[in-house]
Symmetry: C2
């Protein structure tokens, strides 16, 4: 699997680079970005934090706006940011912002016209890590984080793959997609009408059935305009409490859903992941 470098910029002594490649999982060309800290080398591979972005985003939003590189460079963490869906003229799409391209929801679609390309769960958990570990000075040690739809992605992927990741964090995640409009619309389209198939992509449902759970850090702004209708952190908190799961949910007073919020706390998330990645 070959990858093509399309940009690079030095930042905090490390490198931000963008690549394109043809994804066999998604059957289209994809772009991703990687931050490599100054200390990354083949003889000293670094662990990786995967970042999953929210609705409408690409690989660029986090890398340009989160302000993560200062601390990631200090800690010696690589960060990988994939796109949020398959892309291209031949890939099914919808005119709304919350379905189709830019809204892959990090699941494997089973319904037409989506199932041919929308296999983001397999892409994030299998194809992309293989590409990253084959092409960059990184180890197989990894954690996962994300925002909004990407917070949902990080939590569901981390809960389903506790052997593959060491820790999970999220900003403003869609915590209970089966019970909110964004999730119901996407799951209906991608997965069809059988609610049983929805449960495998719902953080609250996964947590109910889990036995061993990775450590989780979640930050949620209480001035987030999507909080009540779409995000439902109280549902996540209730299940975690019932299960005794290692969730730290922090309500952050006055913060909204934007990258200004993410930038304010991303260094604490990096420190949280580093405590599991660098031990």
């Amino acid at each position: 699997m070959s990858i093509e470098n399309i940009s690079q910029a030095k930042v905090f002594g490390g490198w931000h680079k963008q690549y394109t490649h043809t994804s066999t999982t998604l059957k289209c060309d994809m772009r991703f970005a990687i931050f490599l800290p100054p200390n990354a080398s083949k003889s000293k591979p670094v662990p990786v934090l995967y970042w999953l972005s929210g609705l409408t985003c690409t690989d660029e939003n986090f890398m340009q706006k989160a302000g993560a590189f200062r601390r990631a460079a200090e800690l010696g963490l690589a960060i990988v940011a994939p796109d949020t869906s398959p892309r291209g003229e031949n890939v099914a799409d919808d005119e709304s912002y919350d379905l189709g391209q830019g809204a892959g929801f990090y699941l494997n679609a089973t319904q037409k016209p989506w199932s041919n390309h929308y296999q983001m769960y397999d892409y994030i958990t299998q194809e992309l890590p293989t590409i990253i570990e084959d092409n960059f000075p990184v180890s197989e040690i990894k954690s996962i984080s994300g925002h909004s739809m990407g917070g949902h992605g990080a939590l569901t992927i981390g809960l389903k793959n506790p052997q593959q990741y060491r820790s999970i964090s999220a900003f403003s995640p869609i915590s209970n997609p089966m019970q909110c409009p964004w999730g119901q619309k996407a799951f209906s389209a991608y997965l069809g009408g059988d609610f049983e198939t929805w449960r495998q992509y719902d953080t609250c449902e996964l947590l109910k059935k889990s036995s061993e759970t990775l450590p989780m850090l979640v930050d949620q702004g209480d001035a987030d305009s999507f909080l009540v209708e779409q995000l439902k952190p109280e549902a996540l908190a209730a299940v975690a409490k019932e299960k005794g799961a290692p969730l730290e949910l922090r309500m952050q007073p006055g913060y909204d859903h934007s990258y200004y919020f993410i930038s304010s706390f991303i260094e604490q998330h990096l420190d949280f992941h580093a405590s599991f990645l660098l031990d």
Copy 2:
């Protein structure tokens, strides 16, 4: 002069806010952004760093990408980011990116069709500070910084107004616009063919004639694709050396012209300005 708040987001305990207002200087509606640190209050007004952006930018580029708020919040500095030119359907424009809207060059135009609106020098040095000081919990103590065209703006404005500002910094400034394509194109259009009028907006020419000079910090990436043809920091270094002016020019190996470069060193610029603003 009334201003209208159009967005606000909490960030690092402070606030990022955008405003629109009708500029009497520019004869059009303008937008600016301000960062207010957590400690800003009417009883304890904070000093202000004015940030001037480069070609094609608005008030948003620096605020979203520079990663400046963590340190500005710690130091207790406000940051104001204006737009880079007058704007609007009735404002003269050019189809190229380096002339007209988004390319005001922080000067007062004397030539038609530009002179009616393109009075960015007066806007930045007079109207905008008055608005800021009338409407926000800030003091009259201020410094100025910028990038590329905005680095040119910061240096020329700071050199011409040593009583108004305390310190100047720049990333990748257009240091000698009379001697580079960007500057020659803009000065010809905005100021006409008399080179004498150009000198008042050329950092090297101003520095040659200056007696007392504010402290200046300039960072320049040596992998910047505009370095040789457009930016000419060596001309600035030569004049500063000849004059014994307090310029620290740092060539940063491997860095380019992007906000990844700016973000890597912005905290050092904030510390530099704070040493003069907070004494």
